[in-house]
């Protein structure tokens, strides 16, 4: 049984670092992948950003001051890497209301690893119409199951604002999808 502090010590010690980093990958690779995938949409892009995220985590671990939880810190890095990626590829991948959401949906449909049904496509269409930040907030809460407090740290937005944005998005989705119960959302 290990505490987070012990685990971080291992991650920063030359003796145990490699083994501990493998453990870190086991714990967070998949979570961070899905978090990134929803931000950058395609699998190929998510793969690139995920690798950059873990490289940055590895290099930054000695400087990690433990002011936040390890996983919050890693989500923040993943989020920042995703935003950096979107900014760098602004002309290709950045989506907003101004783009009439074509970029988001086009890239989604063209991705070899998207095979959503009608409901999934409908949900993506609704999400694509939301402002970026509002969409990120909804995805982080609904799919990544992050706490509002953690999201506030990651996005640097007040908890109250996050809550209001999230519930507003939920209402929009409920209004637009009649068969909302078809969405799979089974929590462990």
């Amino acid at each position: 049984m290990k505490s987070e502090a012990d685990f971080i010590k291992q991650l920063t010690s030359s003796k145990y670092r490699e083994k501990a980093f493998k453990k870190l990958l086991d714990l967070y690779q998949e979570r961070l992948y899905w978090h990134i995938r929803k931000l950058v949409i395609t699998h190929e892009n998510a793969n690139d950003v995920l690798q950059n995220t873990f490289l940055r985590v590895y290099k930054s671990l000695p400087k990690f001051q433990q002011k936040s939880k390890l996983h919050t810190w890693m989500y923040r890095i993943a989020y920042n890497e995703s935003i950096r990626f979107l900014d760098q590829n602004n002309h290709k991948y950045h989506y907003s209301l101004d783009d009439v959401n074509n970029g988001y949906l086009n890239n989604l449909v063209e991705d070899n690893y998207f095979d959503g049904n009608e409901i999934a496509l409908k949900l993506h269409t609704i999400l694509s119409k939301l402002p970026d930040k509002q969409r990120f907030i909804f995805q982080m809460k609904y799919y990544d199951d992050l706490k509002f407090r953690e999201m506030a740290e990651i996005l640097n937005i007040k908890e109250g604002t996050l809550k209001s944005s999230y519930y507003q998005t939920v209402k929009i989705i409920e209004k637009n999808i009649i068969n909302v119960e078809l969405l799979v959302k089974t929590k462990v």
Partner: protein, 149 residues
């Protein structure tokens, strides 16, 4: 008792399956077969490569530094004046020789004597110049007398 951050194996499997199901069924997002295990290896390889690069850069820097220090020491020992040459020193000497050579009153033997004295005079400090000149005249006279005898 410290709080565990590591989930039990059963919970971890359930969480992973649930996460995958949500993203596949709700959002239609899939991943290639064995993606996560392959990706893990790629990340580990990249991380170890980045570490080698950092070490290489550190060593490269140290080698460059050591070579620079060795070069400075070598130049200081074998060429002590390389960093502090006498500005225009060679031009002063050549100008003096040319002036003497162009003087038709001086014969061939005298040129060498005058050259010797002129060059030697370059290394005499100003306040000792009178003494140097007196010695030269004295030696010259003694030399002339002994030659004539």
């Amino acid at each position: 008792m410290k709080k565990s951050i590591l989930n039990t194996e059963k919970n971890k499997t359930l969480l992973k399956e649930n996460r995958k199901a949500i993203h596949e069924k709700d959002l239609g997002l899939r991943v290639p077969k064995d993606y996560f295990s392959n990706s893990k290896n790629v990340i580990l390889k990249k991380v170890s490569n980045s570490e080698v690069k950092v070490l290489y850069r550190k060593k490269y820097f140290l080698y460059s530094l050591a070579a620079s220090v060795a070069l400075i020491i070598a130049l200081t020992i074998f060429k002590p004046n390389i960093f502090n040459p006498i500005k225009g020193g060679s031009s002063i000497v050549s100008d003096t020789i040319n002036t003497i050579k162009s003087n038709t009153l001086v014969n061939g033997n005298e040129i060498f004597k005058v050259e010797d004295v002129s060059i030697a005079a370059l290394f005499v400090e100003d306040d000792k110049m009178d003494e140097f000149a007196n010695n030269y005249v004295l030696n010259d006279i003694i030399s002339d007398i002994s030659t004539s005898n």
